[in-house]
Chain length 343, copies 3
């Protein structure tokens, strides 16, 4: 548990102290959970009532807001709070070194300050940069490359030849480099495997959630580009390219050879059909099924997906269909009657 005065914390976030600079906090919490030894934050005037009710000992506030207790004024209270969270709860790992129960090939190359947990396996020809951390039960196949400061949690499977950049994080149970799903229906009525001889490239600062799958390319590479973030249980098929700086939420999936551009938002459980392109800044709403290319900044919704506004209106009117059918019936009767009268 860290303890710090608010003047020490203000220095870390470029803030200005209001009230007792020696006021000491030992934790960080939301307004509703904070107690008198906690620092909390007020990011938005809508939470003024929550502030009044909060037991927080001290607060991060924006530059203009009145202080009702020891406070730190900053430009962006939420961002400052996140910065302090990192300081109060730095990520730590067991101090394995190369654990005697790890199985590291004599033909693998490890950088400085690498940690490899027990029952992790690193094959021949693998190259790990400095400060890489490999948790127990993780498998790193022959010839893989992993850049400096990357972190692989437990029970990850990395097939041979996969390349991972620097500062990447892979959560437990994820699989990188499994075969793409390609078969050729033979004249014998059986599916014959199309060899999947390409690779997987995960660039710098990518984060991959738990139990996510990235298949190797048939030829060439499947690529997760710089700074892209994949949530849990995501499926990336062979020969896709995703990002840079794109986010894909849980259980979303891409079919083969899909290209997703930069800063795209892919919602949960979205599916994208094969060979499509989704351009920069697009947003695919949750559960959408994308069946055509998506242009820059387009927002898509529905299965099959349409531009968001159109899909939204279609859905809303769809719920009124029983009423429309009734009206149609009434109108038809009325017209029949008029028609009879006018004969």
């Amino acid at each position: 548990m860290m303890r710090a005065t608010i003047s020490e914390l203000a220095a870390l976030v470029g803030g200005e102290v209001v009230g007792d600079p020696d006021f000491t906090v030992s934790g960080l919490a939301s307004l509703s959970d904070a107690t008198e030894t906690d620092l909390s934050f007020l990011a938005d005037g809508r939470y003024e009532t929550a502030r009044e009710a909060s037991g927080a000992g001290a607060l991060l506030l924006d530059r203009e807001r009145a202080a009702d207790r020891p406070s730190i004024r900053v430009d962006d209270p939420y961002f400052a709070f996140l910065t302090l969270l990192d300081r109060f709860h730095p990520r730590s790992h067991p101090d394995w070194g190369i654990h005697p129960r790890a199985v590291v090939s004599g033909e693998a190359t490890l950088g400085e300050e690498v940690h490899v947990g027990p029952c992790a396996v690193i094959e021949a020809g693998a190259r790990l940069g400095d400060r890489v951390v490999v948790y127990p039960g993780t498998y790193i196949g022959a010839g893989c490359e992993i850049g400096d400061d990357s972190l692989l949690f437990s029970n990850v499977s990395v097939y041979g030849g996969t390349r991972i950049g620097s500062g990447a994080t892979v959560h437990s149970g994820s699989v990188l480099g499994s075969d793409g799903f390609g078969y050729h229906l033979g004249p014998d009525g059986a599916f014959h495997k199309i060899p999947q001889v390409g690779g997987v490239v995960v660039e710098d600062n990518v984060e991959i959630g738990a139990n996510t799958c990235v298949d190797r390319a048939m030829m060439g590479d499947t690529v997760i580009r710089t700074g892209t973030k994949l949530d849990n249980l995501v499926q990336i098929a062979h020969n896709c390219s995703v990002g840079p700086h794109t986010v894909m939420a849980g259980q979303a999936g891409l079919s083969g050879s899909v290209t997703i551009g930069s800063h795209v938002q892919v919602g949960g459980q979205v599916g994208v059909a094969d060979h499509l392109q989704v351009e920069a800044g697009a947003a695919l709403m949750a559960q959408s099924g994308i069946g055509r290319n998506v242009g820059p900044g387009e927002k898509m919704l529905g299965s099959p997906a349409a531009p968001r506004g159109q899909a939204f209106r279609a859905h809303a009117y769809g719920l009124r269909l029983p009423e429309l059918f009734r009206e149609m019936k009434a109108l038809r009767r009325q017209v029949e009657e008029l028609s009879g009268r006018s004969d």
Copy 2:
């Protein structure tokens, strides 16, 4: 293989024997699969034909039903059958003790009769109750707590600090405590990680299927409440609360900060948007996309979901839209004609 007379079995389920009390069975099976050495059950009059055709040597029947072979009369034949299934097929595990190839920290605390399989790893500060069973390849991080009689199958990943209650079961490949999916888009166009410093609490008698993910909270805890059952490949995002006594079917997913109440039924592949509340007794039909709060006992269907009846009617009428468009065209023509005549 267990062998028992029907009078012995009747005693186990509080039943009454009809016919030879020494009739002996050595297995349990459905009416269609049972042979002369099997006991089967008839839960419902609809299966009378199946009973006649069945080769079962003996039957469980309800109290009123006529017996056509050695039988056991009980109040609830299906429940009695399940009870006997448990007796004939008790769950057993390899007798590992603390396997010499397990890697258990000297600073972990283990209760009585704990079994830890080879290549399982238990870190410092972890505390396991009595009769806990940990299968091979499972990772239990620093400071985790696991209550009495809990069972973790192979290759499960439990991040540091996770708390699991008593009588819980976690199937293979599941991940508890991975980081929530939270990022902050910086002025540099890159996503910066929002520290995920909370935890995961899995309460008593929870069962978690295979390859399911439960993310740790950003602050506070993600909670799976007493008796809740999660199927395979389910996604629970940070800060959710699920249950007690709720069931979520395969591939369903919750976005961040969702609250699901007690005795809710969440169908397969359902998605729930962030910060929503689903109240007690609600039912979310398979593949629904929940975009608003759901009240007690409400049944929701569709994506985005509407009350089941409304969604069902909208869908049924939707399939008749081509007909409606045709009728509209015909009616318009008729009105045009009338309009011409009346001018």
Copy 3:
């Protein structure tokens, strides 16, 4: 890296050489990626422009097509290319033998030329055929059977009693034999487990993707039939039967007791409700939700799914609903007016 003359390659695929038979290639690539040391292929006249632009040193062509460089004429250039891909990139595995850090029960039976990687665990009574390869971290429970030439990648979990045929491949992180999702709501308001005492049978030449789950049957067996291919993150619930020769794309899921016939195509993220039958040759389009039996060769789309043409038209007309509502309003006004005139 393999090097071969085109006459050597022609012999492997039953082709006819055009041009210099000693022309040597050292790689295989698509038309767009190939360089002068690569062999590529032209499967279709639509790629003639790509052929002209291609730097490929040599080509596979069909029997009639004019050659513009050293070439091999074959009946099916794509299939011949796949055959050569296999030769240039044969699947290889680390040469573990039975690795000293594997944990193999003395009561397990292993065939000839079996490889078991470090930290793999094989329990008593398991029987592995010849040339089986088990990657690190994979768990094979008591009494499992695995046929000749089957391949299990890393961190796979195979519960006790599972039977896998010959020539099967299971990718990393998959789980075979976890409990089916069955509970009985007791009078105490808690869900009681329905014992899942059946098994899983995976027949010959099945391929199972990464992080896929196949649950054991409640009684009897869950069966994945000969030659069936399951992609990543697929969910197969208890008592299902799939195939033979059926393909299921990523993130598709079957509820309990579903039967899928031969040569069915199940699209990505499809869900099928429990106890349904999908007959031979049917196609379930991506994201469909199947709520009724599907006949031979039927193509289904939508959630809930309808025959593809009907669902497609309903969706197209649905997007035009705002227009229909407007027209209805206009027509009603016109009829009111006519009605007034005719009074």
